[in-house]
Amino acid sequence: MLRYVLRRLLQMVPVLLWMTMITFMVMQLAPGDYFTNLQLNPQISRETLDRIRHTLGLDQPWYIQYVQWLWSIVRLDFGFSFAWQVPVAWLLGSRMVNTLLLSLTSMTAAWMLAIPLGIYAATRQYRPGDHLLTVLALIGISVPGFFAALLLLYVAFYTGWLPIGGMTSPNFDLLSPLGRVLDVTHHLVLPTIVLGVLSVAGLMRQLRGNMLDVLRQDYVRMARAKGLAERAVIYKHALRNALNPLVTIFGYELGGLLSGAALVEGVIGWPGLGQLTLEAVLKKDLYLIMGSVLMGGFMLQMGNLAGDIMLAYLDPRIRYE
């Protein structure tokens, strides 16, 4: 197992290299750079901008710039953001915890709901409960996140039950430690519903499908025939086998923990990474984009690896040696 993990970790290096190189190339080959925006500012002359580009090395071919960027990454220097003039690492760090908090709560909510509902739907196939869940799932899949967020903000506005966006109240600093926890929890409800509950739909349908497949297998019939209780058949035999593909999905989701949800974050005003990255892409803030691509790619691969390891533990048939 250890050798397998080491091999996988080594494989990450070429993947990350390839990924960052393509991103870098695409960013640099598209017309304009971060400073193009300033070209239409009557108060900044062309000479000034050319001087900036020269100082930052932006007038060199993209591959030279890429190698220079790579060299600084090797020394664990993520560079400076053009727009912010602060280290990229600080920018990403300032929002990482917020995104992680939101991703974890919504992921937990999604899985806690999806697994029981999937089992429920599969064991009651084509009965009213299953139909109702199918309709709800379709709605959940088709409503875009930012739209749901906006709708819920209106609900919050008219009922006054939930805060209108943000992560903390303006008087957060004056609250007791418990008050702070409650305040953040209160603010978490709305984005958790949008990101978590709406993604229940996909997971639930996936589990339902897997369960139905498994329930038709011979060994399930066998288990029932030998007189096992239905509970034991479903939870001990069927569920463990039906969960395998979901573990892979779980691995992917682990990888996406730090990706953030730019549109929903924007509507709700959640101080996360998604909004930061989106703005960076729109403005072509090169090193900030590269920093988040690198981080996202790393997380995705780690998530996949975690998923594969979990699979090996859960399913004795899977061995990596």
Partner: protein, 580 residues
């Protein structure tokens, strides 16, 4: 409480008592209000107010830096707006230049030497006195080629810097290479503290100093509010500067408010809900929301303030650059009658109704009617008149055939591409209406919104374009537009960076701009700029469309609000107070 703290508290109580006494005396007999530590405080013209309270506003994005000299965008400059100040300031209503950190100034008879007397007693937030050294340091930094900022180019005349020197601790002198008309309006750049930044500047790290990762207490200014906390993507918190140099007529030390919070709300709809729910005090209303906000004003306990037209310009421009435009298009576009026909063909009332929900006014010249000091109302007007447009087109040799298509003398059909920045919904809607108007005359207009960066490279480098609809922000002094209207300018869209003026009217415009820049007498400058507006309205290298109106909603619990489109709702932040 330590002994030192106790002493400070006593001192504060005594100071309050003195202030209260001064306030009472001020009401009884009109004596100039005083402050104990500032010999000549600036007396605010605002009405009376009450001390205390918090103001909450929302803003669309994070500040990118707290370094006010290198700040490039409004999100950053607005965030440190209440923290830093210049020697002079613009009045939010009259737009006139007034003393701020300088008490007074004088100019030599040749119009080149300006002497500023700094206001004495001003302290930085950390208690260090503000002196001429800080002014000199600020100019050292912004003229440094390694420091990228938008002040240096404006303060450079024909490649020459303004000379500046400290005369004594409270006097600074500036000497311009030639008399410089817009001098006072450009000299109000925010002053930064030498004692805090000199080390970083000498180490060549000025650009990266005072980034948003700096502890806010380090951001030391002289303004009405001190930044006390920045939570990325959430909010900025400010506290009152207890040593501010402005005083009310009644003798109260300003500002009135204790705290100010700027919430960062990236989505406009969310910002609107927050205002309607009473979480914020100010909301900039979009044109199409105007009537709904007016209707609900009483219920929401707010008032809708109308600020009149803005200062920018939106226009359609045609490529007249022989380095880019090819015949026959070059011929049509460089014929003034063609451009005048287009100006008459644009249905501005339709733009006002459909794009701006009625909240805009037509604009025919390059300066906005809001510019009280420089707007010339007597320029040529182009009311919507398709018949007149058709007649003008005929005069240029373009006429409609049997099939209704407009053709030139060589029977080339008049067809061209119209671009605008993709993603700007107002610009796209406007371009579609203009396309519709022009196609009614028999032209074929291919409307293609383009990525902003691509548009810039077309305008600035490849010159490969036909017609573009675009907007520019503006200021009070027309000199700001020099880069657009002077034939050597890089934003002289229709034919940029000319060696020699291509046409007689461009030559005249160059003379107007050069002349007005080197005249210090404001009345004579106004005359010259009147002429520039006449030329543009006659020649139409840019064809202005409409000027949108500004409006904002402010909670009725705030007093002394004097909203203007130019200054915004908070330009007199020191006067604004919370009613009880």
């Amino acid at each position: 409480m330590t002994r030192l703290d106790a002493r400070r508290a006593v001192a504060a109580v005594v100071a309050l008592a003195v202030l209260a006494a001064a306030g009472g005396a001020g009401q009884a007999a009109p004596v100039a209000p005083r402050l104990p530590d500032i010999p000549v405080p600036k007396v605010s013209e605002g009405g009376p107010g009450i001390r205390g309270g918090t103001l909450v506003v929302s803003t669309i994005s994070d500040p990118k830096t707290f370094n006010v000299v290198v700040a490039q965008e409004t999100s950053s400059s607005a965030a440190v707006g209440p923290v830093f100040e210049g020697l002079v300031e613009e009045h939010g209503e009259t737009t006139e230049v007034e003393p701020a950190m300088a008490e007074s100034w004088s100019v030599s008879p040749d119009g080149r030497t300006w002497t500023f007397n700094l206001r004495q007693g001003i302290k930085w937030f950390d208690g260090k006195p503000f002196t001429a050294d800080d002014v000199v340091f600020t100019f050292d930094a912004l003229y440094d080629p390694k420091v990228i900022n938008s002040f240096a180019d404006v303060l450079t005349m024909g490649g020459k810097k303004i000379a500046y020197k400290k005369v004594d601790a409270h006097t600074v002198q500036f000497i311009t290479p030639t008399p410089f008309g817009p001098f006072l309006r450009t000299i109000g750049i925010p002053i930064i503290p030498r004692h805090k930044l000199e080390a970083a500047y000498k180490a060549g790290k000025f650009m990266q100093t005072w980034g948003v990762n700096t502890p806010p207490r380090e951001i030391v200014g002289t303004g009405p509010f001190m930044l006390t906390k920045y939570e990325p993507a959430q909010r900025l918190t400010y506290e009152r500067n207890p040593n501010y140099w402005r005083v009310s007529k009644a003798g109260t030390r300003l500002p009135y408010l204790d705290r100010m919070v700027r919430l960062i709300v990236p989505n406009v709809e969310t910002a609107r809900l927050k205002f309607q729910a009473g979480e914020t005090d100010v909301y900039g209303i979009r044109g199409r929301e105007f009537s709904a906000f007016k209707r609900d004003a009483a219920r929401g306990n707010y008032s809708v303030y109308e600020g009149g037209p803005g200062f920018g310009i939106e226009f359609i421009t045609f490529n007249q650059n022989p380095r880019g435009a090819k015949p026959p298009k070059l011929g049509w576009f460089s014929n003034v009658k063609f451009r005048q026909a287009v100006a008459h063909a644009i249905d501005r009332q339709r733009l006002i109704n459909q794009v701006h929900a009625g909240r805009a006014v037509p604009q025919y010249g390059p300066e906005s009617p809001a510019n009280k000091l420089f707007f010339n109302p007597n320029t040529r007007q182009y009311p919507y008149d398709p018949k007149r447009a058709e007649a003008l087109l005929k005069e240029t040799g373009l006429s409609r055939g049997q099939d209704g298509k407009l053709r030139d003398a060589q029977s080339n059909p008049v067809e061209f591409e119209l671009n605008t920045s993709a993603g700007s919904s107002d610009a796209e809607a406007t371009s579609r209406i203009i396309k519709d108007n022009l196609e009614a005359l028999g032209m074929k207009v291919n409307f293609l919104p383009r990525d902003f960066n691509l548009l810039v490279s077309k305008l600035d480098a490849s010159f490969d374009w036909d017609a573009i609809y675009i907007g520019l922000t503006g200021g009070v002094d027309p000199h700001n537009g020099r880069n657009v209207y002077h034939s050597t300018g890089s934003l002289h869209f229709w034919n940029p960076r000319q060696k020699q003026p291509a046409t007689p009217w461009e030559a005249e415009m160059d003379r107007v701009f050069d002349g007005a820049a080197s005249t210090v007498d404001q009345a004579r400058r106004r005359q010259r700029y009147n002429r520039y507006q006449e030329i543009i309205a006659e020649q139409l290298p840019v064809i202005p469309t409409v000027q949108s109106l500004g409006q904002t909603a402010v909670r009725n619990t705030l007093g002394n609000i004097r909203y203007t489109n130019y200054g915004g709702a908070l330009w007199n932040i020191w006067d604004i107070y919370r009613k009880r």
